[in-house]
């Protein structure tokens, strides 16, 4: 199998979900190559040379200085043809989930979004992805010769092995059309240092039990002690206490972190749908009947305001060793 992995860039670095997709490619098995598309590819090529891949395909074009999903789609499809890729993996980030369906159309290939597991039997790949906000999952087979998958962040280990020999670098020219640039990024503003809930390994989420937005420093401090991101229930987002970007749940983000800590969250069906696939779940709530406890691995029935300060200190100490 020839597996091509798209490497998404942000701030001049290859994004972690793309490195995880390289890890997923090795888990599937076959020869692995990567695709870099942009206006400043040489820097990224140097980073990609450290990955355990056979080849690096690159489209470098000044017109790509402002990101365009359409132009990138055309470029990736062209690379896929030149690399004779049977399988294409794209990290399921915002841009990744825009890009994958595009190349599916261009390459007349079937696509499975947000894959959480691959099961391989010879040349047959079965991809599992969550549906109904994670309340169920589908095992899907792609029936076309070329198969495209987007891989959910934080589930595969980012590939860290050094290559056996330096990957070959192939420059690919793409005949862009003016219509490829009818959608273009004008600006991208990132909140400094804030880890996004969808990609975090550890999440500490707060709900109405926190009583008000003025108490959120407790959630932020606990998250910082864990080295994780902060999340929120729909109730506190709707109340205006927290931004929608932090909302975990059916109409927010579906997350699969290693650890999910729910503080003052009762555990409505819609919230559980968004986080029930977390590896370890911790619940802290005053109400012993809160539904969140039914899916928790660990928890404390008690007042978050009394528990969090001690917990934060203890976690920080344990992590500093």
């Amino acid at each position: 199998m020839n597996i091509l992995v798209y490497l998404e860039e942000r701030n001049g670095q290859i994004r972690k979900p793309s490195l995880e997709a390289v890890g997923a490619a090795h888990a599937i098995g076959g020869s692995v190559s990567v695709a870099i598309i942009g206006a400043d590819s040489p820097a990224l090529i140097e980073q990609a040379k450290k990955l355990n891949v056979g080849a690096i395909y690159c489209v470098n074009d000044a017109r790509l200085a402002n990101y365009s999903s359409r132009a990138t789609g055309r470029a990736l499809a062209e690379i896929a043809k030149q690399a004779a890729a049977d399988v294409i993996l794209i990290g399921a980030t915002g841009r990744g989930k825009d890009l994958a369906p595009r190349i599916a159309i261009r390459l007349e290939a079937g696509y499975v979004p947000d894959v959480t597991t691959f099961s391989v039997d010879g040349n047959e790949i079965i991809a599992t992805h969550p549906v109904y906000a994670g309340k169920a999952q589908m095992n899907v087979r792609v029936t076309t010769p070329i198969k495209i998958y987007s891989t959910r962040p934080n589930l595969w280990k980012a590939s860290n092995d050094a290559p056996a020999s330096e990957p070959s670098v192939h420059s690919v020219t793409v005949a862009f059309e003016d219509s490829d640039f009818t959608e273009q990024t004008k600006s991208l503003v990132l909140s400094q240092g804030k880890l996004d809930v969808a990609e975090a390994d550890i999440i500490v989420s707060g709900g109405r039990g926190m009583r008000g937005p003025e108490n959120w420093a407790m959630i932020e401090n606990l998250a910082a002690a864990f080295g994780g991101a902060t999340g929120a229930s729909r109730a506190v987002v709707d109340a205006g206490w927290r931004p929608h970007a932090e909302q975990v749940g059916q109409t927010g983000k579906t997350v699969s972190p290693t650890l999910y800590v729910a503080v003052g969250i009762s555990g409505a069906v819609q919230h559980l749908a968004g986080m029930s696939s977390s590896k370890t779940i911790v619940a802290i709530n005053k109400d012993e009947n809160a539904p969140i406890f039914s899916i928790a691995d660990y928890g404390i029935i008690g007042d978050a305001f009394e528990i969090l300060p001690t917990l934060t200190e203890a976690v920080a100490k344990l992590r500093s060793h």
Binding site: R70, R102, I105, Y132, M138, T182, T185, K279, E288, D297
Partner: protein, 250 residues
Amino acid sequence: MNILVCVSHVPDTTTKINVAADGKAMDPAGVKFILNPYDEFAVEEALRLRDKHKGEVTAISVGGDNVKEAIRQALAMGADKGILVKGEKTDSFQVASMLADAIKPLNADLILLGKQSIDFDGMEIAPMLSELLNMPTATVAIGLTIEGNKATVEKEVEGGREVIELTMPCIVAAQKGLNEPRYPSLPNIMKAKQKPIQEIVGTVGATRTEILQMTKPEKKRANKILKSDGNAPAAALELARLLHEEAKVI
């Protein structure tokens, strides 16, 4: 302005999902279906733009007779007419193809839809339509302004905001926060019953993916719940110890 809104009919968010007898789909027995919540933001945005720029809003959906319910909801909010593209929804490529074929002759200036439908969560339709209709697209839109033939979308991305400029006609996929969808008023609900829903037969082509099985993830949880019993700090320390020694997450 000729505005199309693609809507879908999905199980409501409180639904407990059960696997159907064939093991490949959701059992619809007893399930309440609603207009996809993300499509509500799309319908609302369409109505506001129509009222500002003058024009017409058409709600379009793919499926069987049952999806007319979703179209009626859009009409009750204020859309002018509906189109049902009759065809079996097998995979997203099929749905996108049927939509694209139905949309092509309609001369839309703007196509709006929710960023994803809460059944399959694929986020595939908008980018697929972009390729099939050869139109620019911006997804996860939390802001949209139209000036002349340019649309500016504010997009929610991981850790920040992206501003994207598109030329029209274009496709925009709505995220929660784009606007506050209106509740259909009783007079509008009554009016909706008189608004036309045109039925056309979708061109059904080959599928590209096959569902082998649908399962419900069964994860056994340890359920070790401590009581703070008047000594919250002690419980907190014990929890930290468990996370360190047993769960090994710190």
